[in-house]
């Protein structure tokens, strides 16, 4: 067996024998994806509402029926006008629709969860409006202009679509950067690096051999994620699959280079772990647009997002996977990632010493 192959074999044995870590590497992305895809959802699906009304007229009964028939709303019952506050405070209802004698409608919402309140208000308004227009079909009502909204690419506003690219951006950094840096630093910590250095083989070749199995594992993860996204979460994958894979492989290389760089500046596994955690994970979650839209960030933070590789990756994956754009539309993201990768590789190699401190 040639040198390089036997180094790869040795590294693969380390991973295969560490059953728990292997299990985590393989299962974690799947769990994460399913968790975000199904359980953790930011869209509002169940709003409890009550109705306060002076007289239950037929028109009002119809309107209440209309709201209840919407799958997002559950009708809790009629309450009297002075019970509104109590109803909302007790949490029995998230919204109360108050019809008053002069035919005006007041919607009171529990805004302790602003997302829920905003979305609930929007839904309720549109239902009531359409109810009004139905009711007043006979009478002329010129003032009511009802805008028609189309949600393109993600018509159901399905949050899984948003999370799949985000999770991919997160997982690959986690596995490639964190695992490689920890496994290189482990050799420093246990002293095996000393023996490796005192050998004719250029240590950098051993380091590259180390990356091969992690790269392979990440490719397996990539395949799993794409499969789950397509067939379980029903992400359309309308675009160019080759492009998705290509840019993902580039992103994997970037993560590996980042891991190598981290390993050159640390000598303890725990430090490597903390650096990967704090320096990589948090920015990915906070600044990549995975959870919080970059457009909403304070101006001071926006430039920071430019140096987060995940931002470019996630944006490219969204374009390719969800919007279904051809590859030429992600050329900007691609070149940014490529430049970052080359820069990180150069920096890591420059930093890598074949002596100890």
């Amino acid at each position: 067996m040639t040198g390089f192959a036997s180094f790869v074999k040795k590294e693969s044995l380390h991973i295969l024998r560490d059953k728990w870590t292997l299990l985590i590497i393989l299962i974690f992305p799947i769990v994460e994806l399913l968790l975000f895809g199904f359980a953790i959802s930011i869209e509002i699906k169940n709003i409890n509402f009550a109705v306060s009304v002076p007289h239950r007229t037929e028109a009002i009964r119809k309107q209440v029926e209309q709201i209840s028939s919407n799958p997002y709303f559950t009708f809790r019952g009629y309450i009297s006008g002075n019970e509104v506050d109590k109803e909302l405070r007790s949490g029995k209802s998230d919204a109360v629709v108050e019809f008053s004698k002069d035919n005006s409608v007041l919607i009171a919402l529990d805004a302790s969860n602003p997302n829920k309140a905003m979305e609930g208000a929007g839904y309720l308004q549109s239902i009531l409006m359409s109810g009004n227009s139905n009711a007043s079909e006979t009478t002329s009502n010129l003032s009511s202009i009802i805008p028609e909204t189309h949600m393109l690419y993600n018509p159901q506003m399905n949050s899984a679509y948003n999370f799949v690219p985000g999770i991919m951006g997160l997982i690959f950094i986690l596995i490639c950067a964190m695992m490689t840096s920890v496994s290189i630093v482990r050799e420093k910590e246990t002293g095996t690096m000393d023996v490796l250095l005192v050998s004719p083989v250029k240590p950098i070749r051993i380091i590259f051999a180390k990356m091969v199995p992690y790269f392979t594992l990440s490719c397996i993860n990539l395949a799993c994620i794409l499969f789950l996204a397509r067939y379980v979460l029903k992400v359309p994958m309308s675009g160019n699959l080759g492009g998705v894979i290509g840019i993902s492989l580039l992103y994997l290389s970037l993560a590996l280079a980042l891991g190598l760089l981290i390993s050159t500046v640390t000598s303890k596994q725990i430090t490597a772990l903390i650096i990967s955690g704090m320096l990589l994970l948090l920015p990915i979650i906070m600044l990549s647009g995975m959870v919080f839209p970059i457009e909403n960030m304070p101006a001071a933070l926006k430039p920071l997002t430019y140096i987060v590789p995940a931002r470019w990756y996630i944006s490219a994956i969204r374009k390719l996977m969800i919007e279904g754009l051809p590859f030429k539309y992600v050329l900007k993201e691609f070149s940014v990632l490529l430049t970052m990768t080359l820069f990180l590789v150069a920096l890591a190699l420059k930093n890598f010493k074949d002596k100890m401190e």
Partner: protein
Amino acid sequence: MRQDAIEINGISKNYGALKALDGITFNVGRGEVFGLIGPDGAGKSTLFRILVTLIDSDGGSAKVDGMDILNDYHSIRNKIGYMPGKFSLYPDLTVEENINFFAALFHVTLEQNYDLIAPIYKQIEPFKTRRAGKLSGGMKQKLALCCSLIHKPDVLFLDEPTTGVDAVSRSEFWDMLLELQKKGLSILVSTPYMDEASKCNRIALINGGKILDINTPDGIVNNFKEPLYAVSGTNMYGILTATRQEKEVVDCYPFGAAHHIVASENFNPEFLKQTLEERGFKNIELNKTKAGIEDVFIKLMHTQ
């Protein structure tokens, strides 16, 4: 004439204000087993790490196998075997996998230099499918030695190879080293155990980053000219303090089951025995004894 295996010329290393090594100078000849004897923290490992080109020294120069440790460190790494003090193999790989990995690291196969490592390898071969982490301390050392010999190095660096190993394995290990010496290897070995020193051709006593003495083990011991006595009895601690107060006693220190007394020329053992008995110590035994390396070490340390 071939150069010495190792030539060390005034090597120094500082860690901040701490002088880990302070002007170390000595040579190790071809085919010599050279022992570096000193307590923990004496600077043995630091010197090893400098010589095997893992860290750079702050001053001085050294040659290993005729090559400069600063300029030719890549070539040196082809020619030396290094066994660090800490067990530095992969505990999750089997004995065989470890050996094959290290063979690949040095571009050789186990078969190529089998004659060199065979006597050692045969002892661990029955366990070749066992994970290295599950081996006993002595077996681990043998495996590590195998791995450091796999490429038939010219010079072997063994940093405290017998620390944490039982007495039988230690003695076996030294037999193996002497076998390797017969095959022409030059060996620099460090140990905190004074009893192992006598098996080396020459030894250097090191403490606080300085060489105290360099000689053959016999030469070192023969330099101990002062009369040396061993005293024992009941209440050893009382005897120690009482003896130290005596005028003709230069030094007295615990040594195994007895106390060793370094005496001046006018020392009268009968008088001391009498004095101790008068002070109420019982079962006093006081005999002249031969100095060992440890006695030399303590003497040099106390005069340092």
